[in-house]
């Protein structure tokens, strides 16, 4: 089928139409190239690719995952996913939605990788198992690692969907039986947008795609590679129950009077104070609710290692490296007790060991006392 270039708007055209001039456009691309760590000679190439690529080609890989990210993506309300896949991007490979199976599916991916080398976005859902030579996840007879490296090679940028691709998530929880590995530890030479969450909010996922397509550049990232637009604030700091926290009004257990009043869930183990996400602002499923609003504490699903950061229903600090029962306060109390005992023993021992010295000093002191003159 021949491509009719006149009918489709490229990024360049749509940016111009939206009131930017060519200079702005070049600034975007320069910024993007700098961000991507590319040499300045490549700026022109990126600009050219954005000008000429019609719908942004996207390859969406699935490795060790549960498909909750794909499911969340199709929950997006604005834009709805039909608009994204029909008008904004060309989702050329995704195990969840694509019509073709087997060889036909792999051929579609291959075609995009060849035709749009250096231009397509690679989305990764799931972690990559490195254990047992990568035998724990194979697709089309290839190991996940091999398949990922192949797809990453020609990608313009990589989006790590969800906590699996960003942090390893559930399968990387202790003892991480399959050596599940997040993608940024495997590929270092590509810009990677990390979008943690189990899953990320649908509108956040769609928002990132819109950002890339509509603004023609990657979103600004924080030091952990997360888009600042969605991960700059803690759930706690944007939580509508925050006034109860500041007032010291807490639910003590589920379904008690305080829980029914909607008091803060801090004492029920809410991880909102340590979790960066948009749950309190964008909320879930087009703003209907979010875990805390529905009475359950945040489990911190967008934070690295959240599965191993202590039990979900307690405010407890675990000592890293210690397994069960490794709670800092328990260990602290025991250690303080042992220490106090040790000091008492030391005090007794000091009296015994230094008794000569002490006795002689007391003797001197007493005789001086007797000799007080005035």
């Amino acid at each position: 089928m021949s491509i009719n270039n006149e009918q489709r708007k490229t990024y360049y055209e749509s940016i111009i139409k939206n009131g930017y001039n060519r200079r702005d456009f070049m600034k975007f691309t320069t910024y993007m190239a700098a961000f991507m760590g590319l040499e300045s000679t490549m700026v022109g190439q990126i600009a050219k690719s954005l000008e000429n690529t019609p719908r942004l080609p996207v390859i969406w890989e699935h490795y060790q995952e549960c498909t909750c990210c794909s499911e969340s993506f199709i929950r997006s309300d604005h834009p709805i996913v039909a608009d994204i896949i029909l008008d904004r991007i060309s989702l050329d490979y995704t195990l969840t939605l694509m019509a073709a199976s087997g060889h036909q599916a792999e051929a579609a991916k291959q075609e995009t990788m060849n035709k749009y080398k250096g231009e397509y976005i690679l989305c990764v859902e799931g972690s990559i198992p490195l254990g047992d030579d990568g035998n724990y996840c194979c697709i089309a007879g290839k190991s996940a690692k091999e398949s990922f490296l192949e797809a990453a090679e020609g990608a313009k940028a990589i989006i790590a969907w969800g906590s699996c691709a960003s942090n390893g998530c559930i399968q990387a929880a202790k003892p991480n039986p399959t050596e599940a590995t997040p993608i940024h530890k495997i590929v270092k030479n590509k810009p990677i947008i990390r979008v943690p969450g189990c899953p990320p909010i649908g509108e956040v996922m769609a928002g990132i795609i819109v950002h890339v397509v509509a603004f023609g550049r990657l979103p600004e990232l924080d030091r952990l590679g997360r888009p600042k637009a969605f991960y700059a604030k803690r759930v706690h700091d944007s939580c509508y129950r925050r006034p109860y926290y500041d007032a010291g009004l807490f639910a003590e257990t589920f379904d008690d009077h305080n829980a029914k009043e909607g008091y803060c869930l801090y004492k029920l183990g809410c991880k909102g104070p340590m979790t960066y996400n948009s749950c309190g602002t964008i909320k879930w499923n087009n703003g209907v609710s979010y875990p805390i609003q529905s009475g359950h504490g945040c489990i911190g699903c967008s934070e690295a290692n959240f599965w191993d950061n202590g039990p979900f229903y307690e405010r407890a600090t675990k000592v890293p490296g210690l397994e069960e029962e490794g709670l800092a306060d328990d260990i602290g109390k025991v250690a303080a007790g042992v220490l106090a005992g040790g000091l008492a023993v030391h005090a007794v021992a000091a009296n015994i060991s230094k008794r000569k010295e002490l006795m002689s000093r007391i003797r001197r002191g007493k005789s001086n006392e007797k000799n007080i003159d005035s």
């Binding site: 060309s90 697709i139 399968q171």
Partner: protein, 576 residues
Amino acid sequence: MANRIVVDPVTRIEGHLRIEAEIKDGKIVDAYSSSTMVRGIEQIVKGRDPRDVWAFVQRTCGVCTTVHALASVRAVEDALDIAIPANAEMVRNIMEGSLYMHDHVVHFYHLHALDWVDVVNCLKADPKKTSEIAQSISSWPKSSPGYFSDVQRRIQKFVESGQLGIFANGYWGHPQMKLPAEVNLLGVAHYLEALEWQKEIVKIHTIFGGKNPHPNYLVGGMACAINSESPGGLNAERLAMVGKLLKEGKQFVEQVYIPDLLAIASFYKDWGAIGKGFGNYMSYGDFPTNGYADLSSFKFPQGVILDRDLSKVHDVDHRNGDIEEFVNNSWYNYSDGDDKGKHPWDGETNINYSGPKPPYDFLNVEEKYSFIKTPRWKGLPMEVGPLARLLVGYGRGNKEIQDAVNGALTHLDVPVDALFSTLGRTAARGIETQLVANWTMGFYDTLMNNIKNGDERMANMNSWEPKTWPAEAKGVGFMEAPRGALAHWIRIKDGKTANYQQVVPSTWNASPRDPKGQRSAYESTLIGTPVADPELPLEIIRTIHSFDPCIACAVHLYDEHGNHISQVQNIASCER
């Protein structure tokens, strides 16, 4: 010798599934089903707080997204003898019911329809005729000629762009695509509509569980406290939203999904004779209305049907040795030999990949060939899923289920035998969606009535603290996930999870052969399927998709040193 073809990846499913089929004279003579991904969730939950485990095992699957959490809290509540408040039971039922509606609709349109509907062919349709067809089968308002021509124009523009995206390399123009262009257009229009609708029905999960996918559950009830007189809990506004979403969901099922299903099915009646399989069906039963302990109160009855004999239904027992798992053809070892089965409470899993080194062309199916274990009921393979549920209900003499099944058979004008097929499985999914949609409205009414009568309890926290627990306990949490019978077995020791095992629907259906050489459902149903063009596996994925595969749960535990460990394990399959 027969010609071996490989379908890997099987797309439009959850997880990583590979089918190898042997074809002779245009028909499949043998088939092998393999899952090629493993994560080890059961090993990971070992030693964790049983109250936390639901969240871990919920991540077994993001598509069915609540079923593992529900099975897990039921298992823990069973072990600790916790009875949940009536409101929590209704809320869980409403969430599960809305999951059925969501899951089955998404499966039909987005995971299955492209096997039957030719997207590109819809460009040839006359939108006016499509409109006439739509209006003749349903009162759904979006059915004007203008509406369909807009959809057609949009697809036209999309196809002309040359970037076919998710539709690239599809089986368009395949001789097995038999729908008239007008029905194809109807299917494509509703594909897009269903995609937009599905994000609405899940908001029920968001209200009760805070988010979807992966809403929150709670051992002892639910966390979403009711408070009819405060903004702090579920009040009239929140509950009204649930009511509205349920009503709209039911409407979509009745006015879009069911009419489309029947319309499309009527062009594929020949598939009522394809994909028969061995004829054993099992359902654990679900949707309790008087507590989890009272099996007679379940909306879906439990039972086993052997050899398509609907006149006799056998009872299922999760606690004796009836259910066993085998690893003779799976990449695991048992300490006392791979030929014997193990009951999940005593199961052990020790991953030992012995397949070919990637990249490979074929699996060695003479030896172990999958990460899925092989479960058996009294040594027999079982098919689970919507069809099994309806057949068990039918056999149990449940009037509501019998009427629904008979109604659909009459409408399609096919014999009862047509149920035992690829078409039957797909139709059963629709029939039960309608049933569940009705029941869910009933659960909602019960919940509202309870609140009206002053019962606002949502969680039983009496046994929340581990110090109230016995030193050792074991429990089973079973349910009917949209994809079929699902159960979790837990052993609790000293307040920690000592052993955890999941036997999920796709384990039953997608597993490799057992020691007696008996095939499981996927392998068995593929035999005899005609394949017009071995290069294009359309017929294979039709039958496989009729099961709605969910493979991510095919995750067993293992010990990285290759030693025997007698703990956790999880049998494969994810709810879609």
